[in-house]
């Protein structure tokens, strides 16, 4: 109480107006603006918004037109993904859980694919029936899973001493980065069949994943290259002096450090990738944004644009923010300073 009083006294209105008149006017103006916007938003929420278009269709947003009797499969997958996220973010973990968490994360993608597509003991579900948030997550995770190793290889290739590797990686990265994503996706849908043998037929979801992956790999490569450049030259020299061969230096010395430095940039890429899966809504997949488009075309929900968009935006915002938090957690885990503290604790 005393503290607040003291501060109020310090920033007393008179002094504020006298010392910083512009600051005072700007603050008052912004206050009024915020008040006005807040009234508009609250009155829309209470008086105008009709959330039937959201509450009646929660299943559609989550899984699209996935067969109703099988809907537990994607539901379980998404539920375990969100549980895992919460566990990773909140628990101070020790021992077994700490060791097994990375492996559980790695297992999430294959288990998701098996649950969605069908496998041992599960009825196969064709990919054109996938949709909603489940499809968004599958698209983002699988293409990230392909793009990551491809991007690392491209980054290493671009730094290679062999001219052919260096220039072919460089050309690939630069040309991919100069083209808009929607063009890659559109021509992925259109051209991939043209470049494959006649009898080959791959479905739209796989084509989309491949297109996202080859696009994202170029961006991953540049971020990893940035990380590689940040490694002091002495590290390589020290490794050479220890008698490591170039392959060992790349895998044991350079990559771990480069990837750790690149985590913030790679996080932005991952968030961008998830957001960009929404582009498939224009190209005919019914992922999260696509399903909202088809809902808005339904005469029952005509004109309910704002409700749907606010809801979808909230879902995207929540996912992207938790991705950013997860990445920050990972960065803390891998921080060398914290690692040394931990090992000191152990030795003591």
């Amino acid at each position: 109480m005393k503290f607040i009083k003291k501060n109020l006294n310090l920033f007393s209105l008179k002094r504020w107006i006298r010392n910083k008149p512009v600051d005072f006017i700007v603050t008052m103006f912004l206050m009024l603006l915020i008040l006005w916007v807040a009234t508009l938003i609250v009155s829309w929420f209470i008086l105008e918004a009709n959330w039937n278009v959201v509450s009646d269709n929660l299943d559609l947003y989550a899984i699209g037109s996935y067969p109703a009797d099988q809907k537990w499969r994607p539901m379980i997958w998404m539920l375990s993904l969100s549980t895992l996220t919460i566990i990773t973010l909140t628990w101070r973990r020790k021992g077994i859980l700490q060791k097994s968490l990375p492996w559980i994360w790695i297992l999430m993608l294959p288990s998701g694919l098996v649950l969605m597509a069908g496998g041992p003991g599960l009825i196969p579900v064709a990919s054109h029936k996938w949709g909603g948030l489940a499809l968004t997550l599958i698209l983002a995770l699988s293409s990230a899973f392909i793009a990551m190793p491809l991007g690392i290889l491209l980054a290493l290739g671009r730094r290679s001493k062999l001219a052919i590797i260096k220039y072919s990686c460089g050309i690939y990265i630069d040309s991919m980065r100069s083209v808009p994503l929607i063009a890659i996706l559109f021509f992925g849908q259109l051209l991939i069949p043209l470049f494959l043998p006649v009898e080959f037929d791959i479905n739209r979801v796989v084509r989309a994943i491949l297109a996202f992956a080859v696009f994202a790999a170029a961006y991953v490569a540049e971020d990893v290259r940035g990380g590689l450049q940040a490694i002091p030259k002495t590290q390589v020299e020290a490794a050479e002096a220890l008698g490591l061969n170039p392959k060992q230096i790349a895998i044991l010395i350079m990559l771990p450090q480069a990837l750790r430095t690149a985590i913030p940039a790679l996080t932005n890429q991952a968030i961008g990738l998830l957001q960009n899966t929404s582009l498939m809504a224009i190209l005919g997949l019914v992922e999260l944004l696509g399903i909202s488009r088809s809902l808005l075309a339904n005469p029952n929900f005509m004109g309910r644009y704002l409700e749907v968009y606010v809801w979808i935006a909230a879902v995207y915002w929540l996912i992207c923010t938790s991705m950013a938090l997860l990445a920050r957690r990972l960065e803390q885990e891998l921080d060398p300073n914290i690692l040394t503290i931990k090992s000191n604790e152990i030795s003591n």
């Binding site: 600051d23 700007v26 603050t27 912004l30 206050m31 915020i34 001493k161 062999l162 001219a163 052919i164 590797i165 072919s168 040309s175 100069s178 083209v179 808009p180 994503l181 929607i182 063009a183 559109f186 021509f187 259109l190 051209l191 069949p193 043209l194 470049f195 494959l196 043998p197 006649v198 968030i271 957001q275 960009n276 929404s278 582009l279 809504a281 224009i282 944004l289 644009y305 704002l306 968009y309 979808i312 935006a313 995207y316 915002w317 992207c320 923010t321 950013a324």
Partner: protein, 296 residues
């Protein structure tokens, strides 16, 4: 004679790459022969036959595909140029607001960046188009007399007609890119040594003058590369115009490909037009960079 090992490696890799490309091109040619299309650019001179909603230069459906594509390219250039200017202004304001001493200003700009960057651009464009512009009344609103009129078809400022598609795209791109530019500007300002801030304050310069004369000039070398890549992103993102029905280069080539079936040629033209756009942006940014370096 001893052949160096690295030379052998390169030979093997070149062989593998050419094998993969060869197989891909063989498939392509087999498929093209099978569908009877082939590759040529003669169709560019045939009449396009479709109307364009937005034309900066005279265009009628009987004009050639080449001319239609060029109009689309000009439309792209137009929306990129305007949103580039507006996004830069917005980004500078929001970025410097992040280091403001006013808590309210600071938190509004943080909220803006945190909100806009975590929501897909496409969703934002849908919002501006369907919610903000298409829900306007059919009869023009005229808040300040004849100078400005606004309806769900067009915006009219001082006699100049602007389509709502252009407006929605412009606002969406500006607000989205502005948030990224704000981050670039903030990073640039942070890259300036704290001592510089303290020195100008102790010399009695006020915040605004100090920012303009001391901090911003020193942060420019750190800001310009980030700005360039944001401008390139803006150019690429402008292809989402197709979602709001604005006739940019991508939308026109999409229509062209659907009509003619010339996917490969269409892709090549799209790539070339983007190459020119990118060169325009990086070229002018390089000139700017040189100017800044000279001032420094």
């Amino acid at each position: 004679m001893r052949i160096p090992k690295s030379f052998l490696y390169q030979l093997i890799i070149a062989f593998i790459i050419s094998c993969i490309l060869g197989v891909l091109f063989n498939n392509l040619i087999v498929n093209l022969i099978r569908t009877g299309i082939g590759i040529n650019f003669k169709w560019l001179m045939r009449p396009a036959g479709f109307a364009l909603a937005e034309t900066s230069l005279p265009y009628k459906p009987s004009d050639t595909y080449a001319w239609a594509l060029f109009i689309g390219w000009i439309n792209s250039l137009k929306v990129i140029l305007f949103s580039l200017i507006l996004a830069t202004l917005l980004g500078i304001i929001a970025g410097t607001a992040r280091s403001s001493s006013n808590l309210l200003v600071k938190s509004i700009s943080s909220l803006y960046v945190a909100l806009i960057r975590q929501i897909p651009l496409l969703l934002q464009l849908f919002f501006w188009y369907f919610v903000a512009f298409l829900s306007l009344p059919n009869t023009p609103l005229e808040p300040i007399g004849k100078l400005l009129s606004l309806s769900n078809q067009s915006l009219r400022i001082a006699g100049v007609n602007i389509s709502v598609e252009f407006c929605a795209l412009l606002i969406g791109l500006t607000i989205f890119t502005g948030a990224s530019i704000a981050e670039v500007v903030r990073g640039g300002l942070n890259s300036v040594n704290r001592g510089q801030w303290e020195s100008f304050r102790s010399l009695g310069l006020n915040e605004r003058l100090g920012l303009i004369h001391i901090i911003i000039p020193q942060s420019l070398p750190a800001i310009i590369p980030g700005l360039t890549s944001q401008y390139l992103n803006l150019a690429k993102n402008s292809t989402l115009a197709i979602a709001v029905g604005y006739a940019d280069i991508y939308a026109v080539s999409d229509t062209t490909i659907t009509q003619t079936g010339r996917a490969i040629e269409g892709f090549i033209i799209l790539l070339a037009s983007f190459l020119v756009l990118n060169l325009l942006i990086t070229g002018s940014m390089n000139i700017l960079n040189k100017l800044v370096m000279r001032i420094k």
